[in-house]
């Protein structure tokens, strides 16, 4: 099987630490359920990601070098 997470077009997905997450949530003044979602079964997720974790995705962007997106892992 092909591991899509290694593909060059799949951006970097990392599990966010709890303290960093606190900062992100307070920055946007939201609960973690207000974040966009990502399925637990998504092949781009790192193996250690579990339901309830927040994933940080860093994409390369033509206009703003890097675009950062956070997503909540759901089932």
């Amino acid at each position: 099987m092909v591991d899509v997470s290694q593909h060059e077009l799949v951006p970097e997905h990392t599990v966010l630490d709890e303290e960093v997450l606190e900062g992100v949530l307070s920055e946007y003044d939201i609960d973690r359920t207000d974040l966009p979602k990502i399925k637990r079964t998504d092949p781009a997720l790192p193996d250690e990601a579990e339901i309830g974790d927040v994933i940080k995705i860093v994409r390369n962007s033509r206009t703003t070098d890097q675009a950062v997106v956070y997503r909540l892992v759901v089932d």
């Binding site: 946007y28 609960d31 359920t33 207000d34 974040l35 994409r59 962007s61 703003t64 675009a67 950062v68």
Partner: protein
């Protein structure tokens, strides 16, 4: 009334079921008679038109609230139903609850552990904003699996739902023919190799006494359930029949009444607000008469609303039901009446239920009942709430007026005298206001109404206008006519993008059409073949200010669709600038001034040169350059593939055509908008279009048949290429028939020959076009239009002068019509060009009848295609808009929906507006360097700078129109605002 009520904030809305007692409490009266009016035309008490239900006739007083028609909203009544009936809107939920709860003790068939799990699931779903239905469905599925109630141990049966409102309990019971079935199975079947079974063997297999077996076989003993199962297993047969037991609404109601509150909470139902038994109606609310007004026809007869008709039916059946029951009618009749009552109540709420014949009017038209009033395009939501007909709007045909600015709209005087703007009279405008009033409603800058400080509205008439004008004082309001400079909103449907609705300034004009500058046709996608447009007059200062700042045409020059300008020169404007600059013609002073007369330029620059006769002249490029900003520098590859060079606002080289000044990404317009601002761009576009019109009038521009006719010699050459191609096609056909043709990879031989013929014939048109083109001069109007990009292309020219070419349907040569041939003129299986829609004539030479027919076939496909495309894309657009309508860009830069869920962390992932960005690679902006330079010049010490940078705020999108968009050299600009 509206003026005095304060707007209120809605804190929250709760949806739930209504308790029968609540219906009775809010009811103004119980309804018992199906009649509406008595012989004298008065409403009958406790009838469907009871005066306590509200008033519709003007002048009467409401018996409940004392208000008059218009201010009384009406009051509900109620009907006491003789027997409970099921509410059609809840049939699915009723089915679910029947399946998920115990038939004996009504408890939810889930153990405490399972309940805990589903409660957790519901909480999670709520938080994530998911559909709760998925969880409850899963809970019911789990509960249905139970054969016995975990609490009382009662056996549970399957519930069958017969749409729309009947429920059955399905029990598996022993069939009455059990003895025959057993005997039959014991016979065995030789063909299928099933052996005979003797009663002894059966007794041994099933562990049942032999005498019992014999009793069973004789039919004198009914086997018990365990015995039945043993026999079924031994003989591999089914001894059961389904027995259905109908659940009456009253049974269901009793069942639901016993469901404990905490059990339905597991299913996400709030028992406080919605008890399940309330889904079975015992009381029917009767809508107020204001919701079902009766109309008096011309002949004095009253015609009742569909809802009233339906209510009459319900009351009649209800009464019959009661009478029959009291008279002790047989159960069968009662059940029939019950079903009829159910049918009427069902169709009262929804008359489009599948499987139920719709209730009809006497004329055969289906009744429009409650659900039909709400549903669909003309329903309450889409038809009356989201889309309303509004006041202060006008609609008429549009026509062009190139003398207007692109910001303006010509408004017919009769529209201007009908639509008004509210003027709050103060000390400063009181004389003005009096002048409007004294002009009356007919004279143009007049007034139609005034409002006195006490709130009384007076109509201004020809008779009282002079008198009224003297009374007008500060504190009054005057509804004055539209005058030049007022801002209005202008719209053309379909409103597909934001430029379909823009704000214009009024110019009052004679005649009956709205006039607009031709350069605003592209954003509206308008033409003047009978298009109509809508205008809306704005009614408060806030709206007018917003429209002026955000919606004015000049603010919309750049389209967010592609980041370029959508407003610019079109059609003849482009031909005009092309004629002006292409061969750089010379103009004498009078001519040059004439070209520029509609612009701000009233003094010519130094002449471009002196001609042989000693007269000074100005070149087209120099005339054009007068319109450019003085310090504009540009260099790019233009429409004709040449380089366009602008140095210090002077066109040095190149032709001005579509890619330079056209709508849809005209480089010069785009640059001016982005660098010099919208106002400068507006001036430029206005002036380019008037200059172009003057130019085209100077040179004259027309097109006729002779402009597309080629000399005989060229015609002969075209014929020659066509004949050549025919020969090649013939060769291909012959090779195909001799089976010598080699097929292309992945194609059959048939496909290959088709493709090769198509290619050959495709080349013919190209060659014919090339030949025709050689014979056209550069000043041929069709060539000018094609080259400049004003209208049409080389293909149109080719088809007019050379050869129309192959006609196609579905991307293939025309193959339809008769069996093996397209028309009866050809032999069957004729593969020739002629027989499959090749048109060798040109539009000028004229098509032969057969060619014409094939051409019509191809043309038809195009028409059908566009019709299908517009309807498909319209629906797609509607769905997309509905899906995205609640997304909003927030002040912190995120995009969120109404529940504050984040959709994008930064608008578009980069926080930039497409119209504020220049996407070209060549003009890379070094933001850091510019920022440093500004900071260095602004702050003397490093500390000051540090202090400033430390307090930097997050960027907001509060104002998209930063000062940088203003025109820097203000005095140069004479605004037409």
């Amino acid at each position: 009334m509206m003026r005095n009520s304060t707007p209120k904030d809605i804190g929250s809305i709760n949806f739930g079921l209504m308790e029968p007692e609540e219906y009775r409490e809010m009811s103004a009266t119980k309804i018992i008679t199906a009649d509406t009016y008595d012989d004298d035309g008065f409403p009958i008490d406790m009838g469907l038109m009871d005066p306590r239900l509200g008033v519709i006739d003007p002048g009467l007083e409401c018996k409940t609230c004392g208000k008059h028609s218009g201010s009384c909203n009406g009051h509900f009544g109620h009907i006491e139903l003789a027997a409970p009936v099921i509410h059609v809107g809840f049939t699915k939920l009723i089915r679910r609850l029947l399946r998920g709860t115990c038939r004996e003790c009504s408890k939810l068939l889930l153990t405490e552990d399972e309940r805990e799990e589903f409660r957790g699931d519901i909480d999670r779903s709520r938080k994530l904003g998911r559909d709760l239905n998925d969880v409850t469905k899963a809970a019911i599925r789990q509960a249905r699996k139970k054969d016995r109630c975990p609490f009382c141990g009662e056996v549970q049966y399957d519930i069958e739902h017969e749409k729309p409102t009947t429920y059955y309990e399905v029990q598996q019971v022993l069939t009455s023919e059990y003895s025959q079935r057993i005997a039959g199975a014991m016979q065995g079947d030789e063909e299928e190799g099933i052996e005979r079974t003797t009663p002894d063997e059966l007794a041994a297999k099933t562990d049942i006494d032999l005498t019992r077996i014999n009793e069973i076989l004789s039919g004198s003993f009914r086997p018990r359930e365990s015995q039945r199962k043993a026999i079924e297993k031994a003989l591999n047969i089914d001894l059961t029949d389904e027995d259905t037991n109908k659940l009456m609404p009253s049974d269901i109601r009793d069942w639901f009444e016993n469901i404990p509150d905490e059990d339905i909470e597991v299913l996400g139902i709030d028992a406080e607000r919605s008890r399940p038994e309330w889904m079975i109606l015992t009381v029917l609310p009767v809508p107020p008469v204001t919701a079902r007004p009766s109309i008096t026809l011309d002949n004095g007869q009253r015609s009742e609303d569909d809802l009233t008709h339906k209510l009459v039916d319900i009351i009649r059946i209800n009464q019959r039901f009661m009478e029959n029951r009291e008279a002790g009618a047989p159960q069968l009749i009662i059940e029939d009446l019950w079903e009829l009552l159910q049918y009427h109540v069902t169709t009262f709420m929804d008359n489009e239920i599948s499987g139920t014949p719709p209730a009809r009017h006497r004329s055969g038209r289906p009744l429009k009942t409650l659900s039909q009033r709400l549903k669909g395009k003309e329903g309450r939501f889409r038809g009356s709430l989201s889309g309303k007909r509004v006041n202060f709007s006008a609609r008429t045909v549009i026509s062009p007026d190139p003398t207007l600015s692109l910001n303006e709209v010509g408004v017919p005087d009769r529209v201007a005298t009908e639509m008004t703007q509210t003027m709050n009279v103060t000390e400063r405008n009181v004389t003005e206001a009096r002048r409007f009033v004294s002009n009356g409603p007919e004279g143009h800058p007049g007034a139609n109404y005034v409002r006195r400080p006490d709130g009384r509205r007076l109509k201004v008439t020809e008779k009282n206008c002079e008198e009224l004008a003297e009374k007008v004082d500060p504190g009054w309001e005057v509804n004055r006519h539209l005058i030049d400079g007022d801002i209005v909103i202008f719209n053309r449907q379909p409103s597909l993008h934001r430029m379909s609705i823009m704000a214009h300034e009024v110019v009052v004009m004679p005649y009956k059409t709205f006039r607009l500058n031709t350069v605003v046709c592209p954003p509206y996608n308008a033409d003047f073949d009978g298009d109509e447009m809508n205008m809306h007059a704005l009614q408060n200062e806030e709206a007018r200010a917003e429209a002026r700042v955000l919606m004015r045409v000049q603010e919309q020059i750049l389209s967010p669709r592609f980041g370029g300008n959508i407003i610019g020169a079109i059609q003849d404007h482009i031909s005009g600038t092309y004629l002006l600059t292409h061969e750089n013609p010379r103009f004498n002073e009078t001519q040059a001034l004439d070209l520029l007369r509609a612009t701000r330029i009233d003094e010519l620059p130094d002449p471009s040169g002196i001609d042989d006769e000693g007269e000074p002249f100005w070149t087209g490029q120099d005339v054009f350059s007068e319109l450019l900003p003085d310090d504009l520098n540009l260099e790019f590859v233009g429409t004709l593939g040449d380089t366009v060079v602008i140095e210090d606002g002077q066109l040095v080289e190149g032709t001005i055509a579509e890619d330079e000044v056209g709508a849809f990404d005209g480089e010069i317009v785009d640059t001016i908008t982005k660098v010099y601002g919208n106002t400068r761009a507006r001036i430029f576009i206005n002036e380019v279009s008037t200059l172009a019109m003057r130019t085209i009038m100077h040179f004259g521009f027309s097109i006729g048949i002779d402009d597309e006719t080629v000399p005989d010699e060229a015609e002969a050459r075209i014929q020659e290429t066509i004949d050549d191609a025919y020969d090649q096609v013939q060769e291909l056909i012959e090779a195909y028939e001799r089976n010598e043709l080699e097929s292309l990879p992945g194609r059959t031989i048939d496909e290959t020959v088709e493709m090769k013929i198509m290619q050959t014939l495709g080349r013919v048109r190209e060659n014919a076009g090339d030949i025709a083109e050689e014979h056209f001069d550069d000043d041929n109007p069709a060539v000018v239009m094609a080259e400049s990009g004003a209208r049409g292309g080389l293909l149109n020219l080719t088809q007019m002068a050379g050869c129309v070419g192959q006609q196609a349907v579905r991307g293939e040569r025309i193959n339809r019509g008769y069996e093996d041939r397209t028309l009866s003129h050809y032999k069957p299986n004729d593969l020739s060009a002629e027989a499959h829609g090749f048109v060798e004539n040109s539009y000028t030479s004229g098509l032969s009848p057969r060619e014409f027919f094939f051409h019509a076939m191809g043309g038809r496909e195009g028409l059908v295609d566009t019709a299908v495309r517009t309807s498909k894309s319209g629906y797609l657009q509607r769905r997309l808009i509905n899906a995205l309508s609640e997304l909003e860009a927030q002040y912190d830069g995120t995009v969120r929906d109404t529940s504050d869920t984040i959709v994008q962390f930064e608008f578009g992932e980069d926080g930039t507006s497409p119209v504020m960005v220049s996407s070209g690679d060549e003009n890379d902006i070094d933001v850091d360097h510019i920022a440093d330079r500004v900071l260095d010049s602004e702050f003397e010490s490093a500390e000051e700078r540090e202090e400033f940078l430390g307090t930097k705020r997050r960027p907001t999108n509060l104002s998209e129109h930063a000062d940088s968009r203003r025109v820097s050299d203000a005095p140069e600009v004479t605004s037409d605002d």
